[in-house]
């Protein structure tokens, strides 16, 4: 059907699609103005090629309805500029790219005619009449090239394929030309400085600053290029701490690494007078390849270019979801984090998590543990610090894992997305505990694929530093200044940013600090973010206070479980985790305290906002959770306005009101949205004034599929028949 559409070339007497203008009209009228048609280019953005009279189908493929426009490929994006006047200003507009723009790094797959996957290289001199682009943020674009000039169509198709799929060098990423052409102020602080301990060693894998136990010598540091070196992540108020490390491959005949590991463990244990529990994550959690495979299957459920297929797959939705295993991987990560939390919280033992490389699942688990234990990381600032600390400085290989460069030898894997998925699960189970909103997480997950920010562009700090220095136009001076993703104003205006805060969040009511001191010697915060340690050489003194205190209480108790390698898949562990959860659950829920996820089947869910936002058929018009949240925001706005008025009167308000002065400014944005457009479950990503009010009616309800082989012949029976009607 599609090819026939293509060959008809608009000359057909009976068009099989609905268009606002005929192609002939466009050719005659729009040709002269073609050159002006391009999006507002960003600094440093260059147009590579373009083609006019490209038809962009709207998502419903059955109607073959579409809009004509110009398709361009720049060094930043693939962009479609409609010939029609822009309809409406979107509330939640990304300043870097519009709804018809796809940043090059965001292109996931390109398909040609008959849904044939296009891989780089084999496109010489050919171009499909229909091109489908699947994006990493789950948008789907379908373009028809059959109305364009052959030369243009060929050029744009090859251009897009070349720039989106072929291997390229890092300096081709748009960030470099963007940064060279903007004077970005470099001194923003969107997350706290957090890492101490200086680096004077020669390897790049590690962040500039990191913390190790004090009795690890400088000689130890260099031994295995930092492998096996326990790096401090977070300290529990009891004094025990979480460490992570890259595991050293163990060779049979050589037991040097083993001795080294023993030494490191002793160092961890010694430091805090507790036992150490080691967890090799590679034993129990899926590999990065497993994660990629599972996610690739999972995302297909949402990349919809055919509504009929979509509804066909609907009946088997739950089992398909189950079979792809993505939710199960999320559950396993959360479960592992709960196990570690239990060790820290209940058993007060040090935990050393390790894996090969030490910067994939170690990052997932260690950041989840900190989110569960430390309410600071559930604030906006805290969360950004956490990502910066555990992921960016912690050396997660963002460049390799997102494979922006399309290199064959790199292991691509959505590990960071997996982490965000886990955070979303926690957030939807315990909404009021998080200062940031679901929308914030969704936007953050999209930002991984916007090659403007350097945050997610490099494999580690050393990599970043050397590259930015090398790319700097002023070779002798400062390195290239690039925006960090945390500067949200680069992407969104203030109003849109208001949607990042969660109206349910309330700050912890201030407690009398004198009371606190008596039973808790140190504030949790001070322990987990040792800013005071800047003064003293941290390798020597950071844990000293706690250690001295605890030395008096506890004798030297040390138990290394190294090499015992208890399989944590054993039913024992999971039942212990379950008990731990149940014990926690019976206590009243404190949103500013320990937070554990429920891992039962029904509790782990699909991140609807992220995955369903672009699928028109499943948008709940006028509904969805936003309908409720917007009411909360509305009242919050009123309360804040009243507060301001009372303040003006000089009235001091009794401060025992939770949420009396929240930062949240969500109110204005949502109210503005409410008044102008209809909210839907896809808010704020899709808003429109002119919804079609036609409900989506599931097609192809394949009944035979369902009843065959089930329940005998029950289905054939009469509702209220006696035995005679039992067919």
């Amino acid at each position: 059907m599609l090819s026939s559409l293509g060959s008809a070339g608009g000359k057909s007497a009976k068009p099989s699609f609905v268009s606002y203008v005929t192609p002939e009209e466009i050719k005659s009228e729009k040709e002269p103005s073609r050159k002006e048609k391009h999006p507002d280019l960003l600094p440093g953005e260059v147009v590579f090629c373009s083609a006019s009279t490209v038809l962009k189908y709207t998502q419903d493929d059955l109607s073959q309805r579409g809009v004509f426009g110009v398709l361009l490929c720049t060094n930043f994006r693939v962009s479609f500029v409609s010939d029609e006047a822009p309809t409406e200003e979107m509330l939640f507009k990304n300043k870097l790219y519009g709804e018809n723009d796809i940043p090059l790094s965001c292109v996931d797959n390109i398909y040609g005619d008959k849904r044939k996957l296009i891989t780089g290289g084999l496109v010489k001199n050919k171009y499909p009449s229909k091109m489908i682009i699947h994006c990493k943020d789950l948008r789907v674009f379908q373009f028809s090239l059959s109305f364009s000039k052959e030369e243009d169509a060929k050029k744009i198709f090859q251009g897009i394929v070349h720039h989106c799929l072929e291997p390229k060098s890092l300096r081709c990423l748009f960030a470099f030309s963007y940064c060279e052409n903007t004077s970005y102020p470099g001194s923003y602080s969107y997350c706290r400085e957090h890492l101490v301990s200086s680096r004077s060693l020669g390897f790049l894998l590690f962040p500039v600053y990191f913390i190790v136990p004090k009795n690890v010598s400088d000689e130890d540091l260099t031994k295995y290029q930092g492998k096996g070196l326990p790096m401090w992540c977070w300290s529990h108020h009891s004094g025990c701490a979480l460490f992570k490390t890259a595991s050293i491959p163990l060779v049979q005949e050589d037991n040097v690494p083993q001795t080294y590991m023993e030494k490191m463990l002793t160092a961890v244990a010694h430091n805090h007078l507790y036992s150490v529990k080691t967890e090799d994550l590679s034993d129990t959690l899926p590999t990065v390849q497993d994660i990629l495979l599972s996610y690739n299957r999972f995302k297909q459920f949402f990349l919809i270019d055919n509504t009929t297929e979509f509804w066909m797959s609907d009946m088997k939705w739950f089992s398909s979801l189950d079979n792809c295993g993505w939710l199960d991987i999320i559950r396993q990560c959360l479960q592992k984090a709960v196990e570690v939390v239990e060790s820290l919280e209940k058993e007060n033992t040090n935990v050393l998590i390790m894996e090969e490389g030490g910067s994939d699942l170690c990052c997932v688990v260690s950041s989840l543990v900190q989110l569960m234990l430390d309410p600071y990381y559930r604030t906006l600032l805290g969360f950004q610090s956490l990502v910066q600390k555990e992921w960016v400085a912690g050396g997660h290989a963002f460049l390799d894992r997102s494979n922006h460069l399309h290199l064959k030898d790199k292991v691509e894997s959505p590990v960071f997305l997996l982490f965000l998925e886990c955070v979303w699960q926690l957030q939807q189970q315990h909404g009021p505990a998080f200062q940031f909103s679901e929308t914030y997480l969704t936007v953050l997950s999209d930002s991984i694929h916007v090659p403007v920010f350097t945050t997610f562009l490099f494999n580690n700090d050393g990599h970043r530093d050397s590259l930015l220095r090398a790319e700097s136009p002023h070779t002798q001076r400062s390195p290239l200044n690039c925006p960090t993703v945390w500067d949200w104003s680069v992407q969104f205006d203030c109003k849109a940013q208001d949607l990042f805060t969660n109206p349910l969040y309330t700050e912890k009511p201030k407690q009398d600090t004198s009371v606190r001191k008596s039973y808790r010697p140190r504030h949790l915060r001070q322990l987990s973010l040792p800013s005071s340690a800047f003064k003293t050489p941290p390798k020597k003194g950071f844990f000293k206070d706690e250690a001295d205190n605890l030395k008096k209480i506890l004798g030297v108790k040390r138990l290394s479980r190294w090499m015992l390698s208890p399989s944590s898949d054993s039913p024992q562990t999971s039942s212990s985790v379950r008990e731990f959860y149940e014990a926690w659950q019976t206590k009243p829920l404190d949103y500013h305290g320990l937070l554990l996820p429920c891992l039962d089947g029904p509790s782990i869910r699909v991140w609807m906002q992220r995955y369903l936002r672009w699928i028109h058929d499943v948008q709940i018009l006028g509904g969805g959770p936003v309908a409720m949240l917007s009411k909360v925001s509305e009242i919050l706005g009123e309360v804040q306005e009243l507060q301001r008025q009372l303040d003006r009167h000089g009235c001091t308000l009794t401060s025992n009101h939770k949420g009396a002065r929240p930062r949240a400014k969500t109110a204005a944005a949502v109210i503005a949205a409410r008044s102008s457009v209809r909210l839907s479950s896809s808010f704020p990503f899709v808003t429109s004034r002119n919804w079609s009010f036609k409900p989506a009616i599931p097609t192809s309800l394949l009944q035979s599929l369902m009843v065959t082989g089930m329940a005998g012949n029950l289905a054939d029976r009469e509702d209220d028949g006696g035995p005679e009607s039992l067919v």
Binding site: Q585, G601, V618
Partner: protein
């Protein structure tokens, strides 16, 4: 640990057994807590069985096993000595199934008094008047005053103005159990109607009935619908199979200006088995491995999807100005689901607390959904093939809608739970008996209390604080598995791992903010009063004008509590 021994016979004097089982004993799963109190309305008991015998050995092997209609099973371990079990078993068996023992249902013994009289919630004439009836095309008839036309229909019916009483009698001979097409709902603007009925008696020979054909034609003509859509709720194979027993469906050739659409919803037996499977995977423990596949294999949500998408199609046709006729086999199970859900989507009145009660009274109770047979009130025959959770399924559909549109319904989840609890409890007369004629014979209205008495005497606790009335909007839920969820707080509520929250955190926060707003408003008012002294007039002026906007807001925001 020794098995807890409860001498139930001693603990439970007969009076207490009358309606509920209260005991200081314990359920198997909570042995460690001796103070567990369990409340089970006797009406919710579906089956009582002895487990183990005098010679049984092993912990907790001897006792009682009680299967409940509300998704739980209870097991009581008893001491083997004495004959304690026999007594409690006999008492339970007798009072849990009073109808099988010549006793009265508890609703007839209850002496409860409420401020409100729930029986006055639904007055058919008032409801029809609210819909704008009668019109010049539709009239109200009392032909069924003595249940002579149809013994399972209510007394007051709305029929096409053009159809005479004689026509109605003739049509009733061609419709299963005399359930002729009658009006359920009319669209105020476009006058499209939802009619409900039972299947036509076509039979193997493909009988025709000119009166029936003409009758449907009259329905079509009433608002100038081009083609009357007949929604047959059944899968087409079942509809065909029904011909063998004298039933069938409207053939294309005989009903000229009508189109027939099958909605593929399965029968009561399939639904019963589906819920049984669901219970297996959630009670006593939630299936852990491959939860989603297990959930899918119950097909429960799939059935919900089909019912909802059927109702969406009905509502969509009506909004488009086309009249529809809905039927299944007898028109009291699937038909009631479809018409009432479509009405819920189309008419915002039914989304209010009172309106929803009217909807249930009208579409379910008065039009003869066979509550007695489907639930088996007070009947010991637990394996009765007539039992089926059709109404539970409907309430689940409503819950799915409230979930998708959290601000569109005036009532909250608690109302739905309460309705389901008392669907079984036999404490109120509301859901007793199969039809109006049986209710009249048994004097339900005069001898029992209505569930709505309970609800409306304490209506605030059934209200949704987020409710935002929007009168003109049609509410189309998305009938995709992507959005359908298992109603965990109902089906898995007996699982201790499911945190039963009094209020959702969102609701809690909202209420806090509302209280705060009121407090601040009061304070501001006080301040403005004191500020109105001459020397501070400037300041008070400016703040008064500022204050005006939020106060105005509040006036029309006043959410009903």
């Amino acid at each position: 640990m020794t098995a807890p021994h409860v001498t139930l016979g001693e603990v439970l004097p007969e009076r207490a057994v009358q309606n509920r089982l209260t005991n200081p004993g314990t359920e198997n799963c909570s042995l460690c807590d001796p103070s567990v109190t369990l409340n089970v309305p006797l009406g919710a008991i579906g089956r009582v069985e002895k487990m183990g015998g005098a010679s049984s050995r092993g912990e907790n092997s001897y006792g009682l096993d009680i299967t409940c209609k509300d998704m739980r099973n209870l097991r009581f371990a008893l001491k083997q000595e004495g004959h304690s079990r026999r007594d409690i078993f006999d008492i339970l068996f007798r009072y849990a199934f009073p109808l099988s023992h010549g006793l009265l249902l508890f609703a007839y013994l209850s002496q409860e008094k409420y401020e409100e009289n729930g029986w006055s919630v639904y007055k058919p004439m008032e409801e029809f008047r609210r819909q704008g009836l009668p019109t010049d095309k539709w009239r109200i008839t009392f032909i069924n005053d003595n249940y002579e036309l149809c013994d399972t229909y209510p007394t007051i019916l709305v029929v096409p103005f053009k159809a005479t009483e004689e026509d109605l009698r003739k049509v009733s001979t061609f419709r299963s159990r005399g359930r002729i097409p009658v009006l359920s709902w009319i669209h105020r603007e476009n006058q499209a109607v939802i009619c409900r009925c039972s299947q036509p008696l076509v039979g193997m020979s493909g009988k025709r009935n000119k009166d029936d054909e003409r009758y449907l034609e009259v329905i079509r003509e009433a608002n100038g619908t081009a083609k009357l859509t007949i929604y047959d709720a059944r899968p087409s194979v079942n509809a065909v199979a029904n011909k063998a027993t004298g039933g069938g469906y409207e053939g294309d050739d005989t009903y000229q200006n009508a189109e027939l659409v099958f909605l593929d919803i399965h029968n009561i037996h399939v639904m019963r088995e589906s819920l049984k499977k669901l219970k297996d995977i959630v009670y006593p423990n939630v299936e852990e491995s491959h939860w989603l596949s297990s959930l899918e294999s119950t097909h429960w949500l799939e059935h919900i999807k089909l019912v909802l998408s059927g109702a969406i199609q009905v509502a969509d046709k009506i909004s488009g100005g086309n009249s529809v006729v809905v039927h299944c086999s007898d028109g009291w199970d699937r038909t009631a689901q479809l018409t009432s859900l479509a009405m819920l989507m189309l008419d915002s009145h039914y989304r209010t607390l009172r309106g929803f009660q009217v909807l249930l009274e009208k579409e379910w109770i008065s039009f003869g959904h066979k509550f007695a047979s489907r639930i088996g009130h007070g009947d010991k025959n637990h394996a009765d093939q007539d039992r089926s959770p059709i109404f539970v399924q409907f309430i689940d559909c409503v819950w799915q809608m409230t979930k998708q549109f959290p601000t569109a319904f005036e009532f909250n989840e608690r109302l739905l739970m309460t309705i389901l609890d008392h669907l079984f409890s036999c404490r109120f007369g509301t859901f007793l008996y199969n039809c109006e004629s049986a209710r009249d014979t048994n004097e339900v209205r005069s001898k029992t209390v209505s569930l709505w008495s309970l609800v409306n005497s304490d209506s605030t606790s059934y209200l949704n604080p987020f409710y935002t009335p929007e009168s003109s909007r049609v509410l189309y839920p998305v009938a995709s598995m992507r959005h359908l969820e298992l109603w965990v707080t109902y089906y898995i509520r007996w699982n201790p791992r499911i945190r039963q929250q009094q209020q959702s955190p969102v609701e809690q926060r909202y209420m806090e903010l509302l209280a705060l707003r009121d407090e601040y408003l009061k304070k501001l008012e006080e301040l403005q009063l004191t500020d109105s002294s001459p020397n501070s007039s400037h300041l008070s002026n400016s703040s008064a004008s500022n204050a005006a906007s939020p106060t105005q807001h509040i006036n029309h925001l006043h959410t009903p509590f």
